[in-house]
Subunit: 192 residues, 2 copies
DNA sequence: ACCTGAACACCGTTCAAGT
DNA sequence: ACCTGAACACCGTTCAAGT
């Protein structure tokens, strides 16, 4: 009898995602959780993909994005915050990576990185550099979350390189590789 | 009346993938294409995921992997061959990236890169460097293929940064960033 | 070894109609 | 504005039984 609003649906979707995981976040399950038929959700969103995009954007809006520092430390901080955000929700990495690659949402990290790099003087390399950083962060987070859940399910003995504190170190090393590469290619660029 | 063998199934699956795309590569469709009930496929593979892993491995086995050159040019060549292979089949990038991240197959590029980097003297950084390269190549190829198909469907006007020769340049620049970063971080490593 | 037949337990989406 | 009821056109997987 209490009718649902669009933000209600997104909030409940995040709960279902975190408790059941992305494969169980179905229109039918989400409808049931809201006390409503699946078809009612199509009053709020034109498709499931649009719903997932709204969920991804909401997760990213909750993140404590950094605002200060020179471009290298701010870029690194942004990537660490992004990773932490993706890992903070069950299947968060896969969800956000999918939404981003379909071009339906999750644009915030890209825009933050491009403007950080542009303000840092990286210039015309900024969009390519930002995408390279995002490919690394999403890929690493998806791998880590997949192996984390495999280990939690007991299917595989903890691979220490993919789980726990070793994964954080590994993320930092990989991120260092990409940022160092941006610095080098930027310096090798003809001046403007 | 002619019964199917395991390689038959993989070969037909690649045909269906390339003609219909990954969403239409269903057990039911593939069975129909082989003149067989969907349940018959479970005699050859324990699950759809196992089938997809075999398909990904077959695609990767067909690639002309490079075998010579110093580690930087050989690494670059391996990444270019991988990208070309992924883009040579409809939805090839998404298929191989998914299989790889689930840990069920598609291990060949990782092994090639690790041994190339190790022989190049990159030492303990090799596994992390290889994964960073793969995150970039898979992420870039998935993006490119997604936008290519969106452009082909006419939904979006060709984004020149994501399509055509500009995409190749962009891939090369991003790859240059990662390889340069590996060189820097390797040089910054304490000697062993 | 390879396949059939039939079932189980689900999906996303549409659409006329209700309040 | 938000939802119901009912349908459409599908999924992956299991399992006893057939050849």
């Amino acid at each position: 009898m209490n009718r649902n609003t669009r933000p209600d649906v997104v909030t409940k979707a995040i709960e279902v995602l975190d408790e059941l995981g992305l494969p169980d976040l179905t229109m039918r399950r989400l409808g049931a959780e809201l006390g409503v038929r699946p078809s009612a959700l199509y009053h709020h969103f034109p498709s499931k993909q649009a719903l997932l995009a709204a969920v991804a954007d909401e997760l990213l809006d909750r993140a404590p994005w950094p605002a200060v520092g020179d471009w290298t430390t701010r870029t690194a901080a942004t990537c660490h915050v992004l990773r932490d955000t993706l890992l903070a929700y069950r299947d968060g990495a896969e969800l956000v990576a999918t939404v981003h690659s379909f071009g339906l949402g999750a644009r915030r990290p890209y825009e933050l990185l491009v403007s950080t790099l542009a303000e840092g003087g990286v210039g015309p390399l900024a969009p390519t550099a930002a995408r390279t950083l995002l490919h690394f962060v999403y890929g690493h987070a998806v791998d880590e979350q997949t192996h984390l859940q495999a280990a939690a399910a007991g299917a595989i003995g903890d691979d220490p390189l993919e789980t726990g504190p070793r994964a954080s170190e590994d993320f930092g090393v990989g991120l260092g590789i990409v940022i160092a590469g941006i610095q080098v290619m930027h310096a090798a660029q003809p001046a403007r």
